[in-house]
C-alpha cells in the first residue's frame, strides 16, 4: 500500500458491482447456464451448484397453532413431481444444532410451540401448485394455553413450555456482601427497564438454494456463517463434514438475522433436496420473513444501587430477564453477554446479578447486533440517570468517578489488561457535541434535552470460546505469478471485510488492496475461520490474516505456488473457567460514547432528534470510512430501536407488525447526520491494532436518546421504543 496509515480510506472494492446492479444476490442467480459463468466476488455459477433447470420451488408449511401436542396430520393428494417432506424423512437427527443448544427441531414432530414453526416443506416445479399443496395441509393439536410474555412465562401459564420452570438458562454473578451494602446505604436507587422486540430488517430477505450431488449436498445463498450451515446440514442429514458444501452469495444485510435462520431454513430444504435429488430454491417474501424469523430478545432489567452518604457506589443488585421465545437456540449466549456487559464502564465494588432466559410461545429470539448488550446497557445507563436524580448530582459526574481503569477487575474477576481511554473519549465527545454545556443550559422539562450513554463491548466469543469452540483457521495462497488470495469463511454482509482484509494483506505485502483476491466463502475451498458474528471478524480473523501475510512475506519464493496457514491461539495471560464463569470473559474490549440531542413536541409527543454523535475506541480503524459507516449505520438502528421500531405480539403470539408499512425503520428524514469519531488505542493482538466494533455501535444510542428525552420531558423514560403513545402514557402517569 502506498499510504503508511492503514486508516486512510479506500474506495470499496465491492462498490461498483453493487452500485451498477451487477452484484448477484441469491434471487438474481441465472438458471441453466453453462458452468463457469463467474460473478463479482462469488464462486462461479452453473448447474453443478444448484442452478440447473430442474430446480424446484420450496415453501414451508408452518404451524397455524401456537402450542400443543400434534395429534394428526392430513396431507393432500400430491401430483407427480411434487413432494411433501417432514420429520419422517430426516436421515440424521431432527434438530438444529446451535452453539449452546439443540432443542429446536428441524421439523416439528410431536409438538408445536409457536405459530409459524416449520412442520413440513412442499417442493415442486410450479410455485402456484406448491402454494395450493401447502394450503391443503392440516394438523390437529391438543391445544394448551398460550404463554405470551415473560410474566406469563414465570407464572407457568398453561404449564411449563421448557423443563419444569420455563427457565432455559441462568447466568448469576456475585461479588462481595451486597446485603450488607444495602443495609448500610444512605441512598438506594431502584428502577425497572424494559426493551422490546426488534426486527433486523436486512433489506434482502432470507433466501437459499439447496441441491444434491451424489452423496453430497450443497447449500448456497444469503448467510453470515457458512460453517454453521455446514454443521447443521451434516447433523440433520447424518453426513460427514465434507459431505456438505456451502457457498455464500452476495448478502443483502444480516445484522445477526442470518446467523441462525439459514440453518433453520436450510436444513429442512437440504432434506427435501436429499429426498428428491433435485435443487430446491426458497426466497422468503417480506411478510413471511418478518413474521417468522428470529428477532432481538425483549428484556426486563431491574437495577437497585446502594450509595453511601458521600455518594460513593457501594453495590448493585441486578435482575436481567430476556424472552427467548419458544426454543432456547442462542438465548444462553445472548444472556451471557447481557450479564457480562450489565455493569458497563463502571467499577462496582459489590454486586449480585441474576440473569434468566425465559420460554414463551413466540418465534425463538435470536441474534441481533449487540447480542444482549443493548438490553442490559439500556437498563444500566437509564438506572445511572435515575441514581443521579436520586442523589441530586449530574449523571456524567457520577459516572466519571466510577470509570474502569487498566488493572481493575472485570465483572468475572478477570483483569482489564489494556489501557482504558474513557477520559479521552469524554473529552472528544464534549468537543464535538458540547454535551455538558447544553445539559446545564436546557431546563428539565423544557422540551429540549441531551443525553449521553457509555458503551463497553467484549470483542470475540465469550471466555475461551475462540480457542475451545471456534478454533479459527485461515490461509493465504500465492500462485506462480505472485497473485495472493485470502481463504477464510468471513462473510461481507456490508460491514466491510472485502475492503479491510484486502488492506491488511496489501499493507503487509507492500501491494495494492485491489491486487489481493478475496472471493466469497465456499466451504469446499476455505478453512473454517468461524462465524461472522460477535465483533470477531476484524480482530480475530483479521489478525490471523495479518499473521499469515507476515509469514508469506518472510518466506516469499518468487515464481512458486505457496500456501500459508494460521490457527487461532489465545493471547498470552488470558484465562477462563467456563464452569464457574470466572476469568477473562473477553480478550479485550471496545469502548464508546453516544450523545443524542432531542426536541419533544408537547402536543403530539413526537420527538425529533436534532443531533447524534458516536465516539469510539476501536483500537485502530483499518479503514476510517468503513468504521464511520458502522458508527453511523449503528446509530440509525439504535435510534430506531429507541424511538420508533415498535414490534408487538397478538393474543396468539404472532407479531402484529409484519409489513414494511407497519414496522417503522428510519428513513433519510428521521435522524440527522451522526458525527462519527474514533480515538486510537491500538490493541497488540488485533490487525494493525484493530479491535472489534461492528456491534457496539448499536449498544447504547437508544439509551442516549431516552436520557435526552428524560431531560426534555422531565420524567423518567424507562422503556423503549419511546413512540409518542408511550411518551403520552408516561406523561399522564406522572401528572
Amino acid at each position: 500500500m502506498k499510504s503508511k496509515n492503514i486508516s486512510e480510506t479506500i474506495p470499496r472494492p465491492d462498490g461498483m458491482a453493487k452500485a451498477t446492479g451487477r452484484a448477484l444476490y441469491i434471487a438474481d442467480l441465472p438458471q441453466g447456464d453453462a458452468d463457469g459463468r463467474t460473478q463479482d466476488g462469488g464462486v462461479p455459477v452453473g448447474p453443478s451448484v444448484g442452478l440447473g433447470t430442474n430446480q424446484l420451488v420450496g415453501r414451508f408449511y408452518r404451524s397455524p397453532h401456537p402450542r400443543g401436542r400434534i395429534t394428526a396430520r392430513r396431507y393432500p393428494q400430491v401430483p407427480d413431481g411434487y413432494t411433501i417432506v417432514d420429520a419422517t424423512h430426516v436421515p440424521g437427527k431432527n434438530q438444529i444444532p446451535m452453539a449452546a443448544s439443540r432443542d429446536l427441531p428441524c421439523f416439528a414432530d410431536e409438538e408445536v410451540r409457536y405459530i409459524g414453526q416449520i412442520v413440513a416443506i412442499v417442493v415442486g416445479p410450479d410455485p402456484q401448485v406448491v402454494d395450493e399443496l401447502v394450503d391443503g395441509i392440516e394438523i390437529d393439536v391438543e391445544a394448551r394455553p398460550v404463554c405470551l410474555n415473560m410474566e406469563e412465562s414465570i407464572a407457568l401459564k398453561g404449564g411449563a413450555i421448557h423443563g419444569t420452570d420455563n427457565v432455559f438458562c441462568r447466568v448469576d454473578l456475585d461479588r462481595g456482601d451486597v446485603d450488607a451494602a444495602f443495609a448500610h446505604a444512605a441512598t438506594v436507587a431502584e428502577g425497572v427497564y424494559d426493551t422490546g422486540f426488534q426486527e433486523q430488517f436486512y433489506m434482502e430477505g432470507q433466501g437459499l438454494i439447496t441441491w444434491r450431488d451424489g452423496d453430497r449436498v450443497g447449500v448456497r445463498g444469503s448467510m453470515q456463517c457458512p460453517y454453521y450451515v455446514n454443521h447443521a446440514v451434516t447433523h440433520v442429514l447424518g453426513l460427514p463434514h465434507d459431505g456438505v458444501r456451502v457457498i455464500q452469495d452476495t448478502v443483502g444485510g444480516a445484522f445477526g438475522g442470518k446467523e441462525d435462520y439459514p440453518e433453520i431454513m436450510g436444513a429442512p430444504m437440504a432434506v427435501a433436496s436429499w429426498v428428491t435429488g433435485q435443487p430446491v430454491k426458497m426466497l422468503m417474501d417480506r411478510v413471511e420473513d418478518m413474521a417468522f424469523t428470529s428477532k432481538r430478545h425483549p428484556s426486563r432489567c431491574t437495577y437497585r444501587s446502594a450509595w453511601d452518604a458521600q455518594g460513593h457506589l457501594l453495590a448493585m443488585d441486578v435482575l436481567i430477564d430476556i424472552d427467548g421465545g419458544a426454543y432456547e437456540s442462542y438465548t444462553k449466549i445472548v444472556l451471557m453477554r447481557a450479564v457480562f456487559t450489565c455493569l458497563g464502564v463502571y467499577n462496582v465494588p459489590a454486586f449480585r446479578i441474576r440473569g434468566r432466559g425465559l420460554a414463551t410461545n413466540t418465534v425463538p429470539s435470536g441474534a441481533f447486533r449487540g447480542f444482549g448488550a443493548p438490553q442490559s446497557l439500556f437498563g444500566l445507563e437509564m438506572h445511572m440517570e435515575e441514581a443521579a436524580r436520586t442523589l441530586g448530582v449530574e449523571s456524567l459526574e457520577l459516572k466519571k468517578k466510577l470509570f474502569l481503569q487498566k488493572g481493575d477487575s472485570t465483572i468475572t474477576e478477570g483483569t482489564f489488561r489494556d489501557t482504558i481511554i474513557l477520559d479521552e473519549l469524554v473529552a472528544e465527545a464534549e468537543r464535538l457535541s458540547q454535551y455538558s454545556q447544553k445539559r446545564a443550559q436546557y431546563p428539565t422539562g423544557g422540551m429540549r434535552g441531551i443525553g449521553m450513554s457509555f458503551i463497553i463491548h467484549g470483542c470475540g466469543f465469550t471466555g475461551d470460546g475462540e480457542q475451545k469452540i471456534i478454533k479459527g483457521e485461515v490461509a493465504l495462497e500465492k500462485d506462480e505469478a505472485g497473485h495472493v488470495e485470502i481463504l477464510c469463511a468471513a462473510v461481507d454482509f456490508g460491514q466491510g471485510p472485502q475492503t479491510t482484509f484486502r488492506k491488511v494483506v496489501a499493507a503487509v505485502l507492500g501491494k495494492e488492496p485491489e491486487e489481493i483476491g478475496f472471493r466469497y466463502p465456499d466451504t469446499d475451498r476455505v478453512p473454517d475461520s468461524g462465524p461472522t458474528v460477535a465483533s470477531r471478524t476484524m480482530m480475530v480473523v483479521g489478525y490471523l490474516i495479518q499473521k499469515a501475510a507476515e509469514d508469506l512475506r518472510d518466506h516469499w519464493k518468487e515464481g512458486e505456488f505457496q500456501r500459508v496457514e494460521q490457527k487461532y491461539s489465545m493471547p498470552p495471560g488470558m484465562a477462563w473457567d467456563q464452569e464457574k464463569l470466572l476469568g477473562d470473559c473477553y480478550a479485550t474490549y471496545g469502548w464508546g460514547i453516544n450523545v443524542c440531542e432531542v426536541e419533544t413536541d408537547p402536543v403530539t409527543w413526537e420527538t425529533k432528534v436534532v443531533g447524534a454523535w458516536g465516539i469510539y475506541d476501536v483500537g485502530k480503524a483499518v479503514d476510517q470510512r468503513v468504521v464511520d459507516g458502522q458508527i453511523q449505520g449503528g446509530m440509525s438502528q439504535s435510534l430506531g430501536y429507541g424511538a420508533m421500531e415498535k414490534l408487538e405480539i397478538d393474543h396468539s403470539g404472532r407479531f402484529r407488525q409484519i409489513t414494511m408499512s407497519d414496522y417503522m425503520v428510519p428513513t433519510s428524514l428521521d435522524f440527522p447526520r451522526t458525527e462519527a469519531s474514533t480515538v486510537d488505542n491500538p490493541y497488540p493482538y488485533g490487525p494493525f491494532g484493530a479491535k472489534g466494533m461492528g456491534e457496539m455501535v448499536h449498544d447504547a444510542g437508544h439509551a442516549a436518546y431516552a436520557a435526552a428525552v428524560e431531560q426534555a420531558v422531565g420524567k423518567p423514560c424507562p422503556c423503549i421504543p419511546l413512540v409518542p403513545e408511550t411518551l403520552l402514557n408516561i406523561m399522564e402517569e406522572h401528572r
Partner: protein, 158 residues
Amino acid sequence: MTVKLTVNGEERQVEVKDGTRRLLDVIREDLGLTGAKEGCGEGECGACSVLLNGQLVNSCLVPIAQADGSRVLTPEGLAQTPEGQVLAEAFTECHGAQCGFCTPGMMMASAALLYRNSQPNEQEIREGLSGNICRCTGYDMIIDAVLMAAQKGRGLWG
C-alpha cells in the same frame, strides 16, 4: 398480450398472459435485468426503483399493462450512462454502499433527483431519497455520494 417497452434505450417486446403482472417481474425474469431488487413488494422500500418515462417509480407497484409503450431505465441502463458512472464511482468512493441491496434503487432515486436538481443541498437529498430504505449506512454516506456526484458530474445532469 404483447407489451412494447423501450428498456435502457433498446426496444423490447414481451408476451404476458396477465396485464397485472408487475413491471419488476418482467424486467427481472423476462429480460434478465436483475439490478432492480425486491425488498418488500409493497412499494415501501424503493429497492425496485426504476425510471418510467423519466419518473421514479417502484416497479413492484406498476402493472405491466400500464407500462406498455413506455421508456424504462433500469440500474443496468443507468450504469451505462456517464452520469450513472459518476454516481456509481461516488457511491464506491464515499462508501454509500454497504450490503448493496438498496444501492441500485438508491442510484435510481439519486439520478432522478439530480436530473431535476443538479446541485441539491443535504436536506433536498434527504427528501429526494426518503422513499428508499437503507438499513446499513444510516444514509449519511449515501448523501455524501450524491453530493460528490453532483459536484463531479457538474454539467452532466442537464
